[in-house]
Each structure stands twice: as structure tokens, then as C-alpha cells.
């Protein structure tokens, strides 16, 4: 996983509550067996005026001029400002892959759905939870100021606003460590191989029926 320490990026708005992962990456793109290439199909139904298909050339499709992420002022944004319960619904990690592939490395919202939060963190995307009031302040600033940027400093757990205000934010200590160092979970867990083996042995004694051969 790519590491995340500091980031200074342009902010784009996703001004609606309960943004679900179906909206982030519609089902037809889930047919892909790859992890990459989902970026142009992020928010596909909102982003384009026609219906997207896997493998289609997205560069020739008609863009929806009313969708904020298509506005010139938000091009190359890397921080998404969103509302409550961002990423609810399906567990599809394709949603996180699409965000990352489209250049986003941070989402700021008052709350996140559990599975999405975990998927995001595993793909180098930092979900920052702020109060609804703080998020509203950011939305107001974002709409007022063209070129609105934020500085995220994960090593200090702070967000710096263009006016110089510094806001602290909270994040799970373990996840923070993983992001800062770009660690991958499997590697970390395999360091506990002995503990897993010992547990498994004990577990198999206690619940032997769980360890029978799975014969269909």
C-alpha cells in the first residue's frame, strides 16, 4: 500500500448524505477481475449522460455538465468533501479502488459506513471524520472560494485550512500507523503466525467439528 503522511490537495464536493457504493461504482463495472482502471467510472451514473459499459472508451462519452466533479474548478481534486454515512451499502472494494484511481486520497465526512472505511484505509485513502458543523463550514468555504485546498498532515493528525486555522482530527492508532508506513495487513498479521497456530490448535480441540474435511 502507498504511504500517506502529508497531503496538500484541491477539494471537491459530494453534497449529499448516504452516498452508497452502488453510486460510486455501478454494478456493471464489477465484472472486471482487475483492481485498476475504475477511476473514469467513479460516480458513473452521475458523471455521464449515457450509460457506461465495462471496456467502453470513457473519453468520448458525454459528460453531465451539472455534476460538480465535472466542473473545471474541481478538476484534479484529490480530497472529497462529503456528508453523513458516506460509503454505505455494498462491501464492494471497487468503490475505494475507483476513488483512488480517480486521484482521491482523502475523504472528509461527518460519518462513514464501516466496511467502506476499512476498504478505504486498505487502499491508502484517508477517511477523516469531522463534526457535521465543521463539515458545513468546509462546504461553505469550498463553494465560496475557487481553488479551495486543504493540507492534511497525518503525522500530526491535523487539517490546515487556507485561512491558517488548524483542526485536529482523530483516527484509529493502528490504522494510522499502517497508513503512515504504507504497511499491508497480511504482512502484519503473518508476523503473528505462531499465535494464530497456537489459537487454532486450542480452537480445534474445543470445536473439533469445525476442522473436518469439507466434502461436498
Amino acid at each position: 500500500m502507498r504511504a500517506f503522511t502529508q497531503h496538500d490537495g484541491l477539494v471537491a464536493p459530494m453534497d449529499r448524505a448516504n452516498v452508497d457504493t452502488d453510486l460510486m461504482i455501478p454494478k456493471q463495472f464489477l465484472k472486471s477481475i482487475k483492481r485498476s482502471g475504475f477511476g473514469p467510472n467513479l460516480f458513473d451514473d452521475l458523471r455521464y449522460l449515457d450509460e457506461g459499459a465495462p471496456g467502453a472508451d470513457n473519453s468520448v462519452r458525454p459528460l453531465n455538465p451539472e455534476f460538480p466533479l465535472n466542473f473545471p474548478r474541481y478538476q484534479n481534486a484529490s480530497i472529497l468533501l462529503a456528508r453523513e454515512n458516506f460509503g454505505c451499502g455494498s462491501s464492494r472494494e471497487h468503490a475505494a479502488w475507483a476513488l483512488a484511481d480517480d486521484g482521491f486520497c482523502c475523504v472528509i465526512a461527518p460519518s462513514f459506513a464501516d466496511i467502506f472505511r476499512s476498504n478505504a484505509l486498505k487502499n491508502g485513502i484517508l477517511p477523516i471524520e469531522l463534526s457535521a458543523t465543521q463539515v458545513q463550514v468546509l462546504f461553505d468555504m469550498l463553494f465560496e472560494t475557487e481553488g479551495f485546498r486543504l493540507q492534511v498532515d497525518l503525522s500530526a493528525n491535523t487539517l490546515t485550512l487556507p485561512n491558517g486555522d488548524i483542526w485536529p482530527f482523530q483516527i484509529d492508532a493502528f490504522r494510522r500507523e499502517c497508513l503512515l508506513q504504507g504497511l499491508d495487513d497480511v504482512g502484519i498479521t503473518l508476523e503473528s503466525t505462531d499465535a494464530i497456530k497456537a489459537f487454532e490448535e486450542h480452537h480445534a480441540k474445543r470445536f473439533p467439528w469445525l476442522f473436518e474435511d469439507l466434502v461436498l
Binding site: R16, N18, D172, S192, H203, L214
Partner: protein, 482 residues
């Protein structure tokens, strides 16, 4: 100390816990399907790793399979959509390469992963169960700690048999009394979501308890736990009781002999102790729950069938007002309209929420001897598994559906997520027994109203949503009870 059911399951699977609460949890059963596994297997290969315990894994194709009999009979190689074919083939190939058990496409046991799992006894009380699908919460109905995971976690479980987790908080939903006649587990699930919202359960394990829950069949409990994720909770739970034990008994992969005796003893302890601490509790009067219909684009946008679509002026704040406005536009509804004025033009009976035999019986009871309203353009009944299909056919339910003018399909996820050819056209309005009414969920531009199988069947006959009382009145005329 008094423990909740969730506390007990957590403790029995805790491998290691760091000071900051980050924990390693051992996984007993890992279910896999074609859509969220290919990238995980690829990751495993690239790292030169192999599955930690291959017997923990069981795979089945379901999300992206064709439900047309002719296409199924022709086999995978003949599937017209090449992209889907590659994905389904990848599951077969990966299972072969990594020596993982797979129920193949045309096996009678094939079905939606959350229907197949309990049916085969691949999911048992007291297990930790994960799957790269958010509706893994379904399996909590048997007293298992079950939740959905992303693809990176699928790879992690394959490689280590563990998940990195933090313990969730405990949330009890106590449903007192008895559900009225004609009100089902689906209505209860929607009523709970309507009450706590789609984020209400975020960070919690949701335990459903109380008389109305105990009175549910295993199928009903699965429907309820299935939609815990729509309430924001990664997992739903119901305590083990006689209903659970009788359900599991004799399932193909259930323990036998001495193992059964030992297992049953442990399973019987899987309930929250008296006085156990819940971080949050709500009580719902089961007898006051009415049949539910979602009118919007989130499962929390729900009303009882004799209710109406909310008005903009009733919204508490600007975000809610905008949300309602957007939902009304997308759904093509006007504020304040009675739910019974909504006229679906498509019907979908299926999905891991409502495609078990009990669901099909419930729908068939309404449809027996009736025909679809002429306004219905598309009506699919998709059984949850080959075994459900065979049982329904043995009971003659397929004939009832077909005589009513509905299509009787092969098992799969079908129009629940519309990855295959089963989908709504833009603007089409569907009474659906599935679990998500998000924009575009059942097809780009499609409009979904989530309901119980009985309500979907009633709407199919009447051409609009009807309250249970009206269906009973109609039933009297036609001479069949609901």
C-alpha cells in the same frame, strides 16, 4: 460477568489483542463468490502465498450468473456476455488452483451464497463467518458472528485465517408482542431501519430479541439479520434456541454423532446473559408494525403501506429536504401522495433477503388462482438456490407463478443488483423483495420499492400497492386467504 451473545462469540475467536484494542479474530468459515474474489486470489498468487486452511473456504457463483434456463443449460462456455464469462471462469479456475471447494453453476446446491451457506450447514451457530459481500450479516440468524468484508480482507482471510478488527459495540433491538397477521420479518426489518436510520447501527453488532423475534422461523430470522447492514450494522444476531437447533439438524455439513452432542451443548449457551450490558437498546412493539413500502432511494425512506410519501415541509433540516427532493425526482413521486397510489410496472421476487421457500410460499398464497395486472410489464420469480427451486416445484408453486403470468427463473442474485441481463429499464418502477433501493441499483434509472413477498405479489395482482386489509378483501372475493 454477564456477556452479550456478541461478547461470547468475539471472545471465543480472539487470537490476539493489542493495547489500543486492535484485535486478531479467527475466522471459521469463509464464503466466496465470483465478484469479490478474483483480485484477492491474484494478490495471493503475486505474494506467493497459499490459503491458510483450505477447508474453511467454500465458493459458489451467484451474483453474475444467468437466470435463464436455456443459458444455464448451455453451460458457462456458452454464456453470451464474454466479460461475465471470464469472471465466472476465474472463480472456477481459482478454486481449482487453490484447491478450494466450489459448488459449480449447474449443481442443484448452487444458489445465492447467503441462501446456500445455511442450507448446506456450511454456516453453523457459534462460527465466525465472513464473505466478500455485505449481506453476510444474514448468517447471524443462526447465532454466528457473520459480516461482510472487502476484497483486501478476502485476501487477508485466505492468507491468514484471521481478520484485523476492533470490537464493535452492542445494540439490542427488542421486539415485543407478536407481528400482526400478514406482517413479515421483511416488514420488521424495514420498520427497524425506518426507526434507527441507515447509519443507526454503524459501529454496532445488532442483536434482535424479544417474543416477536423468537416466533420467527429461521427463514424469517435470516431476512431480519440480512438487512442489519441496511441499518448500518456489519452484523445482525439472533440467539440460539430450539428453532435454530432444529434448523441445523441434519444439514449436510452439520456435525454428526458425538460432535453433534458437543456442538449442541455449546450452541445452547449462545444467548445474551441476563443483565448483559448493551451500549444501546431500543424496544419496538411488534403488534404495531405494519406492512412497509420504501418510497425513496435509501432503505430508511420507508412508510407503512397505509401511509404516504413525506412532505418537504416535514423535513427537519436543509440536508434532509434536499435528500427528499432528490429522491422524489428520481422516483417520480410527489410529496404527500398515498403509498397505495404508487403503481409498479415490474415485480421482482428473489434475493438473499426473500428467496427462500417460505418467501415463495408467501407470495404464491397471494397469487394462487390470480393473474398479474395488465399494467405489469415484467415479473420475475428467482428462487434463492437450486434446492429452494426444487422444493417450490415439488409444491407446485412454480405453476402458480407461471399461471399468474410471472417468469420462473434459475437461482442467482438476478435483479437484486442487475449485474446480469435481469434489470429494470430507465424509469421502470419495481416492487422488489430485495434489500436496496439505491439509485440505479436494479438497472440504470430504475426505481425500486422494497417490500415483502406478500406485498410484491399483492401489487402484482392489483397494479398498485395495497394495504393488507384490502388484499384480504380481495382474497375474500376470489376465495383465497393471504
Amino acid at each position: 460477568m454477564a456477556q452479550t451473545l456478541y461478547d461470547k462469540l468475539w471472545e471465543a475467536h480472539l487470537v490476539d489483542q493489542r493495547e489500543d484494542g486492535t484485535s486478531l479474530i479467527y475466522i471459521d468459515r469463509h464464503l466466496l463468490h465470483e465478484v469479490t474474489s478474483a483480485q484477492a486470489f491474484e494478490g495471493l498468487s503475486l505474494a506467493g502465498r497459499s490459503p491458510w486452511r483450505r477447508n474453511a473456504n467454500l465458493a459458489v457463483p451467484d451474483h453474475n450468473v444467468s437466470t435463464l434456463q436455456a443459458e444455464r443449460a448451455a453451460g458457462l462456455a456458452a454464456l453470451p456476455d464474454p466479460v461475465s464469462r471470464i469472471q465466472l471462469q476465474a472463480l472456477d479456475d481459482n478454486c481449482k488452483a487453490f484447491d478450494i471447494a466450489e459448488i459449480p453453476l449447474n449443481d442443484i446446491r448452487q444458489g445465492i451464497v447467503h441462501v446456500m451457506g445455511p442450507e448446506q450447514g456450511a454456516v453453523l451457530p457459534g462460527m465466525t463467518v465472513v464473505c466478500g459481500d455485505s449481506h453476510t450479516s444474514t448468517h447471524g440468524a443462526v447465532g454466528a458472528l457473520a459480516h461482510g468484508i472487502g476484497t483486501s480482507e478476502v485476501e487477508h482471510v485466505l492468507a491468514t485465517q484471521c481478520l484485523i478488527q476492533r470490537k464493535m459495540k452492542n445494540f439490542r433491538v427488542q421486539v415485543t408482542g407478536q407481528l400482526p397477521r400478514g406482517v413479515t420479518a421483511k416488514d420488521l426489518a424495514l420498520a427497524v431501519i425506518g426507526r434507527i436510520g441507515t447509519a443507526g447501527g454503524t459501529g454496532y453488532a445488532l442483536e434482535f430479541s424479544g417474543d416477536a423475534v423468537c416466533a420467527l422461523t429461521m427463514e424469517g430470522r435470516m431476512t431480519l439479520c440480512n438487512m442489519a447492514i441496511e441499518a448500518g450494522a456489519r452484523c445482525g444476531l439472533v440467539a440460539v434456541d430450539d428453532v435454530t437447533i432444529e434448523y441445523v439438524r441434519g444439514k449436510p455439513l452439520a456435525p454428526k454423532g458425538e460432535h453433534w452432542t458437543a456442538a449442541e451443548a455449546w450452541w445452547r449457551s449462545l444467548r445474551s446473559d441476563d443483565g448483559a450490558h448493551f451500549d444501546r437498546s431500543i424496544e419496538i412493539d411488534g403488534s404495531a408494525v405494519r406492512a412497509q413500502v420504501t418510497w425513496g432511494t435509501s432503505p430508511e425512506m420507508v412508510a407503512s403501506v397505509d401511509g404516504y410519501v413525506p412532505r418537504l415541509a416535514e423535513m427537519p433540516d436543509e440536508t434532509a429536504r434536499q435528500g427528499l427532493q432528490r429522491a422524489l425526482e428520481y422516483m417520480g413521486l410527489s410529496e404527500g401522495m398515498p403509498i397505495t397510489d404508487i403503481q409498479p410496472d415490474a415485480i421482482f421476487i428473489g434475493s438473499c433477503t426473500n428467496s427462500r421457500i417460505e418467501d415463495l410460499r408467501e407470495a404464491a398464497a397471494v397469487l394462487r388462482g390470480r393473474r398479474l395486472s395488465s399494467s405489469i410489464k415484467k415479473a420475475l420469480v428467482v428462487p434463492g438456490s437450486g434446492l429452494v427451486k426444487a422444493q417450490a416445484e415439488a409444491e407446485g408453486l412454480d405453476q402458480i407463478f407461471m399461471e399468474a403470468g410471472m417468469e420462473w427463473r434459475e437461482p442467482g442474485c438476478s435483479m437484486c443488483l442487475a449485474m446480469n441481463a435481469d434489470r429494470l429499464e430507465p424509469g421502470e418502477r419495481c416492487a422488489s423483495t430485495s434489500n436496496r433501493n439505491f439509485e440505479g441499483r436494479q438497472g440504470s434509472g430504475g426505481r425500486t420499492h422494497l417490500v415483502s413477498p406478500a406485498m410484491a405479489a399483492a401489487a402484482a395482482v392489483m397494479g398498485h400497492f395495497v394495504s393488507i386489509d384490502d388484499v384480504e378483501a380481495v382474497s375474500d372475493v376470489v376465495g383465497e386467504g393471504l
